[in-house]
């Protein structure tokens, strides 16, 4: 009798909790849940004339690790870099490279010299002027500082000359067509020498005065907030000739928990976010105070299939069998709710070299996979390493496990700590497979070369194919876009289908969720927000 009363008391208190969590929003606009094909939408055109002023709170998925573009390794850092620093060139929302600190550029006929004409009206936040000498100092710093994360990006650069005050010439060791795309990002960001030297060892946490971008760094309190303020002397102007930026202040809040990020948007405590968990998208779309948009992105998700001698995928046909057997659309719909799309390789839909008809494994073909394995003779069984604590990775692995079973492929899931998996990947010391995502780069080279080329740092499936290496070298040596496109496509046919390096299964999308009164922001394929054109409706 007494235990029955305890049970009642317990049930009563639990009921309170359950009622509370079943309060879901109903009705709404936008795309239906699990829309297929994924509902890609752009934000509505800006309403009315931009107005100056206001503060935007930006909910970021993690805290910035390094403000210094030279040391930066984490993707999340770039969300702040793009507001504080200007780079020599940038991309427009379609991915086309556009002038930025460099007004124009010219490549010599032998492809070994690239000359940049620089803007003359640029000042760093600490007041020092930007000129060709500053370009040389920055590139040399990136190239030669011990431990610089940009050294490999700029490895093809032999030297930089300041031809005159506003002309900088890059001398290359060999023709290197991805150079411009490299200079869009961190390797092309320009910093004030005075500010860097004054910052010393603390510079990467406190980049005071170092940038020339639309917003100035004010303060950063680790895991709490980062404050940026308007740079009133920025050179940028909108299409009507008004000075940019419009916004007075940006406050960045690192919120690791995805659901909490969404809640902060819905309560108005955050006005902008660009990393939304798939299952939360529907609740944002149906919230009348918010706008959710989604566009193409350079990033991909893949499975490292270990091709090293003695590993489960030494015979590349096994990797092809896995590629054939998995149902990409199902993964995109069921786990990512349409926030990612079926993917087939390293060249993303918004890359210039993309071939929209290249969909080698569009329909899952477990029967075909089964036949292929029978042809090889030995059944396939392998181990998939999954990061412990990542619910999403585990879901993906479990779904793939079930899909492979239809082709009689047995996949065992093993959870390991992230740090441990990295060490195993680094030496290809895992038995079967691991999951690996990539945030994407402007040029397909950045998505491909370091992943596929023999011995390259991100080639953790230990893949090696002489024909592919030759084609990838070709894509770097020629600046002729048509020739590059052909070489990229020929290589992709080999490393995805004929002799697969690994299994690619998704392309990512750029997400952008804002309060309705936030105007002017558009999704870029690199996933990063440009706040210089953003404004707040009064």
């Amino acid at each position: 009798m007494r235990s029955a009363r305890y049970l009642l008391a317990f049930l009563a208190s639990f009921a309170i909790v359950l009622t509370a969590c079943s309060q879901q929003p109903s009705g709404g606009n936008g795309c239906p849940a699990g829309a297929s094909p994924p509902c890609t939408s752009t934000p509505p055109p800006a309403a009315g004339k931009p107005t100056y002023g206001g503060t935007i709170t930006f909910a970021l998925e993690n805290d910035v690790v390094d403000f210094d573009p030279m040391r930066s390794r984490a993707f999340v850092d770039r969300n702040l870099h793009y507001q504080i620093f200007d780079s020599l060139v940038r991309i427009d929302p379609t991915g086309k490279i556009i002038p930025w600190l460099a007004e124009s550029w010219e490549t010599s006929s032998d492809g070994k010299q690239v000359t940049f004409k620089l803007r003359k009206d640029v000042k760093y936040h600490d007041g020092t002027a930007f000129d060709a000498a500053s370009v040389k100092w920055n590139i040399d710093r990136y190239r030669t500082t011990q431990g610089s994360q940009r050294a490999s990006d700029l490895a093809p650069v032999a030297s930089v000359d300041a031809v005159d005050q506003y002309t900088a010439r890059f001398n290359l060791k060999a023709p290197y067509s991805p150079l411009l795309a490299t200079l869009v990002d961190r390797a092309g960001m320009m910093l004030s020498q005075k500010a860097v030297e004054a910052g010393g060892a603390d510079f990467t946490r406190k980049p005071v005065g170092a940038g020339s971008g639309p917003f100035r760094f004010v303060e950063a309190v680790k895991d709490d907030h980062i404050t940026l303020e308007k740079n009133p002397d920025w050179w940028g102007k909108d299409k009507d000739g008004n000075k940019l930026p419009y916004l007075e202040k940006i406050i960045v809040k690192p919120i690791v928990e995805g659901t909490v990020r969404t809640t902060n948007l819905r309560t108005g405590d955050a006005l902008v976010a660009n990393n939304i968990v798939g299952k939360d998208v529907e609740s944002l779309r149906s919230d009348p105070s918010l706008v959710y948009s989604q566009g193409p992105n350079y990033g991909f998700d893949s499975i490292y299939t270990n091709r090293k001698k003695g590993a489960a995928f030494e015979d590349g046909r096994y990797a092809r069998a896995v590629s054939m057997a998995i149902d990409r659309q199902q993964i995109a719909d069921q786990i990512f709710y349409g926030t990612r799309t079926p993917g087939y390789g390293t060249i993303a839909p918004s890359h210039f070299a993309a071939d929209p008809t290249f969909k080698p494994f569009e329909k899952a073909d477990p029967a075909g996979a089964k036949a292929l394995i029978q042809q090889i003779g030995k059944p396939l069984q392998f181990e998939m390493l999954v990061t412990a604590g990542s619910a999403q990775d585990l879901q993906v692995a479990q779904l793939i496990q079930a899909q492979l079973l239809k082709a009689d492929i047995k996949m065992d899931i093993k959870s390991l700590e992230f740090a441990q998996i990295l060490t195993l990947q680094d030496k290809c010391d895992y038995q079967g497979a691991t999951l690996i995502g990539w945030s994407g780069r402007v040029d397909p080279d950045g998505n491909t070369y370091s992943h596929i080329y023999t011995g390259a740092p991100n080639n953790s499936s230990c893949y090696s194919n002489a024909q592919v290496d030759k084609l990838l070298d070709e894509t770097r040596a020629t600046s002729d876009e048509a020739k590059r496109k052909a070489a990229f496509r020929a290589a992709e046919q080999i490393y995805v289908v004929d002799d697969p390096a690994r299994v690619w299964y998704l392309f990512r999308t750029t997400q952008l969720a804002t309060a309705k009164r936030v105007q002017g922001l558009v999704p870029y394929p690199d996933g990063l927000i440009r706040f210089d054109v953003g404004w707040l409706q009064k």
Binding site: L8, A9, E257, A419
Partner: protein
């Protein structure tokens, strides 16, 4: 007594050394390379080697430990491998925030436990006792991360009365600071509240059935005096033991709560640093946490003397 305290304080030094050595060895034998973790997508082998050298990770282990101890004695706990922030600064920046959250949770937990636990014990099997017991079971059963998100959904999203996490500086905006404190403090307090409430209730029930209380009542003392002056104090010894352990655990107990409410405290720093093999930060946090445990158990031992005069740490004089 003073001698006893001094001796306990001195004992902390070898214990601290032992803890630091054990943590040092454990961290290094755990698989995973900090340089690879922080490399992220940038895996250029030359840059990685340079980083390893910069962090001193290419030195032999014993030498790394000696260097660390040498610096630590001078008060320099090194820099975070990941953020380059001095470790002391990283911890000092967060400690007050974790303490604020922890103390608030402790006040809620202990305060509610004492009041409700006492009432539940006095009115055994009454509706109040049943409700308290129900909450106890729910509180122990509900994981922190679940309760945290439920509270946010209810109070921040549905009723919009409290902000969904974050931290505001107490000096510049005390009201906002307290508003943001409420939900995480309740979340953090719930699990320990359940344990404390049970403890207070059963301990008091135990004492209430003792003979000396019957004597007290027979003397003609009022019920209030019997409970507050005679029963309470005696029932507190096991309760204080548990409270003491909780103070020690304040630092690391907040890990999940701090993540959900993005409260910038030491708990979150600990999680990030362990996952990322940020050796200097983990070493410092474990050391600090060990010290906190030692100090709080000492405080509890001293409290015993006040609660029960029969306990004495001085030299026995017969």
């Amino acid at each position: 007594m003073t001698q006893y305290i001094l001796r306990r304080l001195l004992l902390m030094i070898p214990v601290a050394f032992l803890v630091s050595a054990i943590v040092f060895v454990l961290l290094r034998i755990t698989p995973g390379d900090p340089v690879l973790v922080y490399a992220g997508e940038e895996r250029d082998p030359v840059a990685l080697e340079a980083l390893r050298h910069e962090y001193g990770l290419d030195q032999p282990l014993p030498l790394q430990y000696v260097v660390w101890v040498e610096h630590a004695i001078r008060g320099d706990l090194g820099r975070s491998l990941r953020t380059r922030q001095p470790v002391t600064q990283a911890i000092l920046e967060r400690l007050p925030k974790t303490l604020e959250l922890g103390v608030a949770a402790l006040i809620i937990s202990v305060g509610v436990a004492l009041v409700v636990g006492t009432l539940a014990a006095l009115r055994r099997n009454s509706p109040l006792d049943l409700i308290a017991t129900g909450f106890t079971i729910a509180g122990v059963s509900l994981p922190n991360f679940y309760l945290g998100i439920i509270l946010i959904l209810v109070f921040s999203l549905a009723f919009r009365v409290l902000p969904p996490g974050g931290y505001a500086d107490f000096v510049t905006d005390p009201v906002d600071n307290l508003k943001r404190l409420i939900l995480p403090a309740i979340t953090l307090a719930t699990a320990s509240l359940a344990i404390n409430l049970r403890q207070v209730r059963s301990s008091l029930l135990d004492v209430l059935s003792q003979d000396y209380l019957r004597t007290a009542r027979a003397k003609g003392l009022g019920e209030r005096a019997v409970v507050l002056r005679h029963a309470m104090k005696n029932s507190l010894i096991p309760v204080v033991t548990i409270f003491g352990l909780q103070i020690g655990a304040l630092l690391d107990g907040a890990i999940i709560t701090e993540t959900i409410y993005f409260w910038p405290g030491v708990g979150r720093l600990a999680v990030d640093s362990i996952g990322g093999r940020d050796y200097p930060v983990v070493q410092a946090i474990v050391l600090m946490s060990a010290l906190a445990f030692m100090v709080s158990t000492l405080a509890v031992d001293i409290l015993y003397v006040w609660l029960d005069p029969r306990i004495s740490y001085g030299r026995r004089t017969g």
